[in-house]
Structure formats: structure tokens, C-alpha cells
């Protein structure tokens, strides 16, 4: 047996060209914007409708309303109850899904070409003629309250919610859960649901994306037929408060007694999706904690074995979403892991990354680009984001060049501008008996303790 053939690695061949699918924009007679990407590989089509009805539209004290309105679209229309709607979609081999994220309401389905017209008729009815039955509203509210109960024993979700609570100013919508806390959800009435729907689900504020086995002309004709009767101009944009909670770096320990592991979040308010530093920040984050081979993951997992995994991300929204480092570590490693995360953030700001680190991140992001868009759902989602954030139509064609143009100096400057060690919030869901002392000894900021429900216990 010879290993000679292994001594030299094969070199990559010439890359084959790739282009993101061509797409076209049209406007329906009632003002709905249509974006179509004809992709005829398989006889399926993904349809996504985005409306200007995200959770930022929730009134104060009614947080969770936009999520409920989106979910209620599937619960009945003028001609069908929720059960009949589900059955009608499913007999066509598809499922209707609707939810609200921070910025928009999103309704979607993927359906075979032969059932597209029938499915679109149902799809349009859910969006344009929902009946919001009171019984189903009470049921969905009760299901959300149950979800909140579940969250108390689920450390990952709880850590995310507590992180947002400590990172944002109390008056920011982002400080409270997207689908709402218990008091707000309980307070929501049928009238609230109707009002938000009427104010924000309007033809002029809606874009429908179709990707797959359909031509632009066919898509336009199908939508004129199914959505034609809908009206309404675009709703007014919403002013979003994304201010950080005031003050310097703090540490917050939320009690999970006897936890074998600590869920850790290290976070501060990041930047909006539309920002001149977007590409620089994305590459910087890839090196810091965005990739498996990133500094934070290699440090915490492959060098110290504190964790199964650690990552960092900028959560992109129209307004400034959070920058978050997330990991779960053995309880006894909590302070040491936190120290390493802080050190990696500092190092990112104090010295340039190596050329090798830079090219690892940029060649990954550029190379993986076509792999991200294998499915009609992925293509339609990408186009929906283009609309939500108001990106230029050339965005996908220039993406790889934009990534590849980022330099080590750009990354250093982006880290210095957009990582803020002095105002981090360090949030730990774990056993205070085990972690509070070592965290205090870390001197990373004053340590506050909370009970399992997040109420303060003192310092």
C-alpha cells in the first residue's frame, strides 16, 4: 500500500460561473408589488407575501399583536373556518405558513405548478378576507401563554429573551419578546387584531415574491385574478426605538438551580441592516465567531473544550438588531469561557487579523453563495429580504465582489467602530451557587442575580 498519491493534494479546477436567478418586478393594478424569479428546474413554485406588519407595529402594552394577527390569517376566512382552510391547502400538497418577524408579516407556501392557481386562490383569501374568529384568537393566546411557561425551563430560549431585555433601553420594542409577554398577550382583544390588520395589511404595503416554475406573465395574471379585489395604500413607516440600555458593562445571572451547564450570551446593540459597513462587519464577524473555524469557536471548543459550540452574530433588522455571542458551557467553565469571549472581542479591536483569516472568511462567503440558493424557498426568501431592506436589484450580482473587496484594515476598523466591549451585557442562565463567585472575580462588571422568572434578587 502506498500513500504517495496523498503527499500532494489536488488543486481546485477553474470555478464554473454562477449567477443568482434573474428576476423581474411588476406592479399589480391595486398597487401590490410583484417580484418573480422564473426557475424551471422542478415543477414547483414558492410564494412569499411580505406586508409592512412586523412586530415593531405592536402598540405599547400589546406586544405580540403582530404575531397573533399573522397567525390568525390561517384561522378562518369569510367562506371557510381554519380547519377547512388547512385541509384545502394540504389536499393540494402544500401548507400555508404565516408569522411576523420584527419588520414584516410573512405568509408563504411551496406548491407544485399544477396546483398553483388553486393554492393561490386560498392564499389570497387568507390575506385579503380573514375572519379572525374569537374562539381561535383565545386559543392562540392560550398557546402563546403556554409557550411562555415552557420558556422558564428552556435555557436557550430564556437566554435569548433575557439578553434582549438587558441589552435594549426599556422603551425599545426590542427589549420585549417578539411574540409578547404574558400580560401583553392576555390584554390583546379581537378589536386590537382587527385594527392592526386594517391599518397594516394593505395592497400598497405588500410585496409578493414567486420563485420557481412560473413565468412573470403567468404570475402577474394569476395574482390579478386572486388578489385583484384587495385595496389600500402603503401604511406609514414606523419609527423604531433601538437605543441601548444605559450604563457600562454589567453581568446578569438568571437562576437555573442545579444546571449542569450555563447558557451564556454576551451582547450589545449592533447596527441596522442598511449600513455602509455591512460587508466589513459581516466579514469581521465571520472571523470572530461566524464560522466553525472562527476565533471564538476554536478557542472555546477546540482549544479549551468548554463547549459543544460557540458563535457570534449580528441579528439584521431594519433598525439596529443585537450583536450576540452565544454558547453553553459546563457550569464550572462559565467564568473562564466568559473571559475568553471578552478577550477575543478585545483582540479583534486591538490588532489586525491575518491575511489567512481574512481569506478564509471571504472565500467561504463568496464560495458558499450558490449553495445557499439551491431551493425555490431560499431564492424567494432572498428576494423577499431584498424588498424588506430596500436593497438594490444588483445586490446579488455584486455580493461576491463586495465580500472579496474587504481588507484586513477594513476588518480592524469595523471591529473598532462596531464592537463595544465597554457596554456589553453578559447574561448567564445557570446555577448562581456555582457561577456567581467566579463571574464576580472576573471583574467584567457588577454582577446581579435574578430568580428563575427574571425578577431581581440583588447583587
Amino acid at each position: 500500500m502506498s500513500t504517495a498519491s496523498f503527499a500532494t493534494r489536488p488543486l481546485p479546477g477553474e470555478p464554473r460561473p454562477y449567477a443568482f436567478p434573474r428576476f423581474e418586478r411588476r406592479t399589480l393594478s391595486n398597487g401590490i408589488t410583484l417580484v418573480v424569479a422564473p426557475v424551471h428546474r422542478l415543477p414547483i413554485v414558492t410564494v412569499i407575501a411580505v406586508t409592512d406588519a412586523g412586530s415593531v407595529a405592536d402598540p405599547l402594552g400589546r406586544e405580540g399583536l403582530a404575531s397573533l394577527v399573522a397567525a390568525m390569517l390561517a384561522e378562518g376566512t369569510a367562506s371557510m373556518d381554519g380547519e377547512m382552510l388547512a385541509l384545502r391547502f394540504e389536499r393540494l400538497g402544500t401548507s400555508f405558513s404565516a408569522y411576523a418577524d420584527w419588520d414584516v408579516g410573512v405568509a408563504s407556501m411551496t406548491v407544485t405548478r399544477s396546483h398553483l392557481a388553486d393554492a393561490l386562490a386560498l392564499f389570497a383569501e387568507t390575506l385579503t378576507a380573514p375572519s379572525f374568529p374569537a374562539r381561535e384568537l383565545e386559543r392562540l393566546k392560550a398557546e402563546r401563554l403556554a409557550e411562555l411557561l415552557q420558556l422558564r425551563t428552556e435555557p436557550r430560549g430564556l437566554a435569548d429573551e433575557m439578553m434582549a431585555h438587558f441589552v435594549y433601553a426599556p422603551e425599545s420594542r426590542f427589549a420585549r419578546p417578539m411574540a409578547g409577554g404574558a400580560a401583553a398577550v392576555e390584554a390583546i382583544t379581537a378589536r386590537d387584531v382587527g385594527e392592526l390588520y386594517t391599518a397594516r395589511y394593505r395592497a400598497g404595503g405588500t410585496t409578493i415574491v414567486m420563485a420557481g416554475d412560473v413565468s412573470t406573465d403567468d404570475a402577474l395574471a394569476l395574482l390579478e385574478e386572486s388578489f385583484g379585489v384587495w385595496g389600500g395604500s402603503a401604511p406609514a413607516p414606523i419609527a423604531v426605538v433601538d437605543a441601548p440600555s444605559p450604563g457600562a458593562r454589567t453581568v446578569h445571572v438568571v437562576t437555573k438551580a442545579d444546571a449542569p451547564q450555563s447558557e451564556i450570551r454576551v451582547a450589545h446593540v449592533g447596527i441596522p441592516r442598511i449600513h455602509p459597513d455591512y460587508f466589513r462587519v459581516t466579514v469581521m464577524n465571520a472571523v470572530l465567531g461566524g464560522l466553525f473555524s472562527s476565533r471564538i469557536n476554536l478557542n472555546l471548543r477546540e482549544r479549551n473544550a468548554y463547549t459543544y459550540g460557540a458563535r457570534s452574530e449580528f441579528d439584521w433588522r431594519r433598525a439596529a438588531g443585537p450583536f450576540v455571542v452565544s454558547t453553553a458551557v459546563a457550569s464550572e467553565a462559565t467564568a473562564a469561557a466568559t473571559r475568553e469571549i471578552l478577550a477575543e472581542i478585545d483582540r479583534m479591536r486591538s490588532e489586525p487579523i491575518t491575511e489567512e483569516e481574512l481569506t478564509l472568511a471571504t472565500s467561504y462567503m463568496s464560495g458558499v453563495f450558490p449553495i445557499r440558493y439551491e431551493t425555490t424557498a431560499a431564492i424567494a426568501t432572498a428576494l423577499a429580504n431584498l424588498v424588506v431592506y430596500g436593497l438594490d436589484d444588483s445586490y446579488f450580482d455584486t455580493y461576491r465582489a463586495n465580500i472579496e473587496s474587504v481588507t484586513t484594515t477594513d476588518v480592524l476598523e469595523a471591529a473598532q467602530r462596531h464592537l463595544h466591549p465597554e457596554r456589553l451585557r453578559i447574561v448567564v442562565i445557570g446555577d448562581p451557587a456555582e457561577v456567581a463567585g467566579p463571574l464576580a472575580a472576573l471583574d467584567a462588571g457588577p454582577v446581579s442575580l435574578y430568580d428563575a422568572e427574571g425578577s431581581p434578587l440583588g447583587s
Binding site: 500500500m1 500513500t3 498519491s5 496523498f6 503527499a7 489536488p10 488543486l11 481546485p12 479546477g13 464554473r16 460561473p17 422542478l42 414547483i44 390561517a74 380547519e83 388547512a86 391547502f89 394540504e90 389536499r91 393540494l92 402544500t94 401548507s95 411551496t110 407544485t112 386559543r139 392560550a142 398557546e143 403556554a146 409557550e147 411557561l149 415552557q150 425551563t153 435555557p155 436557550r156 444546571a259 451547564q261 447558557e263 464560522l291 466553525f292 473555524s293 476554536l298 477546540e302 473544550a305 468548554y306 463547549t307 459543544y308 453553553a328 458551557v329 459546563a330 478564509l360 472565500s363 467561504y364 464560495g367 450558490p370 449553495i371 440558493y373 439551491e374 431551493t375 425555490t376 424557498a377
Partner: protein
């Protein structure tokens, strides 16, 4: 829909399947090794999975972490996973990097051991222990898989023990275990290599010959013990777990026909009639109408040896006890046995399943994984193209026959989690179970 499939076998036993598709310049490489937690020896639970981690730690010509880094630098995605019957390794890369990926996979199939050290093993052992804490010990209901396997398979059966393993067994694993597991199971004649996407078949074949061709055949793996089981449990099984959870959750399992058999497709459709999405019987009755459940679903494990499991998974609404939840789910299962399934219900289920199959086949990685699966279990990757037809052939009467044979009381195993604070609820259920 049908995908093109070509197959060949190298002299050393490596089975290869190829499926071309040039619609995007990407290619997926997928390796199934026919070894999983079922092949572990006593005292080494969790070893197959720990071993999977070691395969990313370098080999004779690949440094620590270099596997991940090389593929990410190429712009590729990658991972591996361990299941009861198999372990898979997979990557999707820009198509001009295919040869590098084959080289990487061949180096760890042929020359893993020179890259192994005690230090790497100790480190990955700790990573896996943290994976166990993360996914099992510190997660509500996190023990469900190991508890359900233990409840549904006899103690001597290879599917009985924990896949992620016990902390003690993980601690006991040695470098010698790594070497012997590698020599026994990670051999070309115990593996399937699948490539799907944008590649030139002649060039791919030449590269496979070049890098995998001279890896020697293995000594043969020890046979698994007899895995055949009677068609039913033969008794009502029930385990109640008071735990740190907020709401009761029931896993109700039925022993069911092995993956790929004719009866399997009837079982799978029956599961979809009961629990697939909002038009299913369980969702309509328990979530929407009676409001006893918060979420509900049904799935099969897809085990190809001995016996499969069909499982209903239901979370109670607040105020509903575990006993009430279990009773309500049981009532719907009884109703399914008493009232015939309608053709319309079967059509809904098959339409959803077919759509899921077609949707999944858009991804090169998914196509390669399915090819490896059918090649590993049945020696015939072309079965991938027959799945939709086999589902379409399932009749309402076949689903009824499955329900009559397999959904009766003597083939039900309940794994019921209840909030630890509500000990009284657990007591009620236990009292009922022993009554």
C-alpha cells in the same frame, strides 16, 4: 420526479453512486459508513458518535481542524451525524473543489490513525460531554430518545442503549478503542460514497479510483445479534418521568414494520393521517377542537433492521394532566382503529409526503444522502426514484390493516414526562397504570 443514477463498485468493496445535475456549479459528496450505536460493545455506549467527532481531528496528511478549514475555505458546507444504524459524513462545495473533497474523505478512510493522539481524544471527549449536557441533560425532555429506545427495545437488543452515551462510558473510551473501531468499521467495503450535482462522471470515477482504490478491504465486521422482534410489544408499556419540565409531554410509540418494507409505507401514511400538520386527526381533535394539546405530531424512526417505531409526540396545554393527555391521544388512536380511514385522508397525507420528497430533492446534499441511504440498506440506490410511487400505492384499506395489526393496546409504549412539582399527577398516572 426521477434523478439519474449510476453505480459501480471498486475492487476493495467501496460502493459508489453518482447522480449528475448541472443546474448549479455545486456538488455534494456523501459517505455512509454502515456502523452506528447499534454496533457498540458493552461499556462503550456513545462511542460511535464520539468516533464521528474524531474523524474531524485530522488524519495522516490532514492537520487538526484542517478538514473543516479546507472545506470552508473552498466555500463549502460540511458535517457528520450518527444514528442507530449508520454514521454519515457530508459536504457540499463549489464543483471545482470535488477532487479535494474526495482526497480529504479518502485520507481519513485510509489513514486516520496516524493523526490520532490521546490529547485529541481527551479534548473531543469533553466536547461530546458538553454536547450531552446541551442536548440531553440541560434541555427539557432532553432524555426522550434514550428513554424511548430503552423502553421499546429489549435490554439485549442493539437499539436499546443510549446513542449519545453515558458520561461514564465516554470517560472509559481509549485510544485503543478508536483504533479497533476504525479498523473494524471504517473500511471501504462497509461504506457507500455518493456524489450528486455538477461533476464530470469520467473525471469523478478516475479521482475515486486514484484516492480510494488502494485502501484495503476490511477484515469483516462482527455480525450484529439477531435483531428480529415480534410484530408487537405484546404488552402495554408505560414509563412516567417526573422532570424539570413545565408541561406534560407524551411520546406514544408503536412497534412498526422496518423501513423500506411494503408495510412501512402504510405505517408512514398512517402516521401522517394521525399527526402530519394541521389537517391531521390528532391536530384537529386535540389542538383545535378539545384544546388539550399545545403541539402534536407523529413520525417514524425509519429503522431498517429488526423493527421500526411509529411515535406520536404530544405536549399538553397548561392545566391538562399527563394522564388526561395520554387518555385523549389513546382515544384518537382507538377511533382510528374503529372508524375506517377515508380515501380523502390518505390523499391528503400522500400529497404532503410527495411534496416534501420533491422539495427535499432540490438540494444536492439531500439527493446524495438519500442515494447513500438506499444503497447502504438495500444495495440499490435506484429505490430513491420509487419512493413517490410506493407512497401513492398505499390504499386506505392498507392503512386500516396496519392500524388493526399494530395500533392496539398491546403495542403501545408511553413515555410520559410530567412536571416534577406536580408529583400528584405522576402518582395518579402510576395508580392508573397499576390499576
Amino acid at each position: 420526479m426521477r434523478i439519474p443514477i449510476d453505480t459501480f463498485r471498486l475492487a476493495n468493496g467501496l460502493f459508489v453512486t453518482l447522480s449528475e445535475d448541472h443546474s448549479a456549479p455545486i456538488v455534494a459528496v456523501n459517505l455512509w459508513y454502515h456502523v452506528g450505536s447499534a454496533n457498540e460493545r458493552e461499556g462503550r455506549t456513545g462511542f460511535a458518535h464520539l468516533f464521528e467527532h474524531m474523524l474531524f481531528q485530522g488524519s495522516a496528511h490532514v492537520g487538526t481542524n484542517e478538514h473543516f478549514e479546507t472545506i470552508q475555505r473552498a466555500g463549502g458546507t460540511l458535517n457528520g451525524s450518527t444514528w442507530l444504524e449508520r454514521t454519515n459524513y457530508f459536504e457540499t462545495v463549489p464543483s471545482n473543489h470535488l477532487e479535494s473533497i474526495l482526497w480529504l474523505e479518502a485520507d481519513r478512510m485510509g489513514y486516520l490513525l496516524p493523526g490520532m493522539t490521546q490529547q485529541k481524544l481527551d479534548l473531543q471527549r469533553d466536547v461530546v460531554k458538553n454536547e450531552r449536557r446541551w442536548s440531553v441533560d440541560n434541555q427539557p425532555y432532553g432524555t426522550w430518545l434514550e428513554r424511548l429506545d430503552a423502553l421499546c427495545f429489549p435490554p439485549t437488543h442493539p437499539f436499546h442503549h443510549s446513542l449519545i452515551g453515558s458520561m461514564a462510558d465516554l470517560s472509559a473510551a481509549s485510544l485503543e478503542d478508536v483504533a479497533s473501531f476504525f479498523r473494524t468499521f471504517y473500511t471501504p467495503d462497509n461504506a457507500v460514497l455518493s456524489i450528486a450535482g455538477d461533476f464530470d462522471p469520467a473525471a469523478a470515477r478516475a479521482a475515486i479510483d486514484r484516492y480510494f482504490g488502494h485502501i484495503p478491504r476490511g477484515p469483516g465486521k462482527p455480525p450484529l445479534p439477531d435483531m428480529m422482534l415480534p410484530p408487537t410489544f405484546g404488552e402495554r408499556r408505560r414509563e412516567v418521568v417526573p422532570d424539570a419540565v413545565a408541561l406534560p409531554r407524551l411520546f406514544l410509540a408503536f412497534r412498526s414494520p422496518v423501513f423500506g418494507s411494503d408495510d412501512y409505507y402504510a405505517a408512514s401514511v398512517c402516521g401522517a393521517v394521525l399527526g402530519m400538520r394541521r389537517g391531521s386527526r390528532l391536530y384537529r381533535a386535540l389542538v383545535r377542537e378539545q384544546q388539550l394539546a399545545q403541539e402534536i405530531g407523529a413520525f417514524t424512526f425509519d429503522l431498517a433492521k429488526g423493527a421500526d417505531l411509529l411515535v406520536i409526540d404530544a405536549v399538553a396545554r397548561p392545566g391538562v394532566s399527563g394522564a388526561e393527555l395520554e387518555h385523549a391521544v389513546g382515544r384518537e388512536v382507538d377511533r382510528l382503529r374503529e372508524e375506517r380511514v377515508t380515501a380523502e385522508e390518505v390523499e391528503r397525507a400522500v400529497a404532503l409526503i410527495e411534496a416534501d420528497i420533491v422539495n427535499a430533492m432540490q438540494s444536492a446534499g439531500e439527493r446524495a444522502d438519500q442515494l447513500s441511504k438506499f444503497a447502504t440498506f438495500f444495495g440499490d440506490p435506484r429505490l430513491v426514484n420509487e419512493q413517490v410511487d410506493r407512497y401513492k400505492a398505499v390504499t386506505a384499506r392498507a392503512v386500516d390493516a396496519f392500524a388493526q395489526a399494530r395500533l392496539d393496546e398491546d403495542n403501545r409504549a408511553s413515555l410520559l414526562y410530567v412536571p416534577r412539582a406536580a408529583e400528584s399527577v405522576a402518582q395518579d398516572v402510576l395508580a392508573e397504570a397499576t390499576a
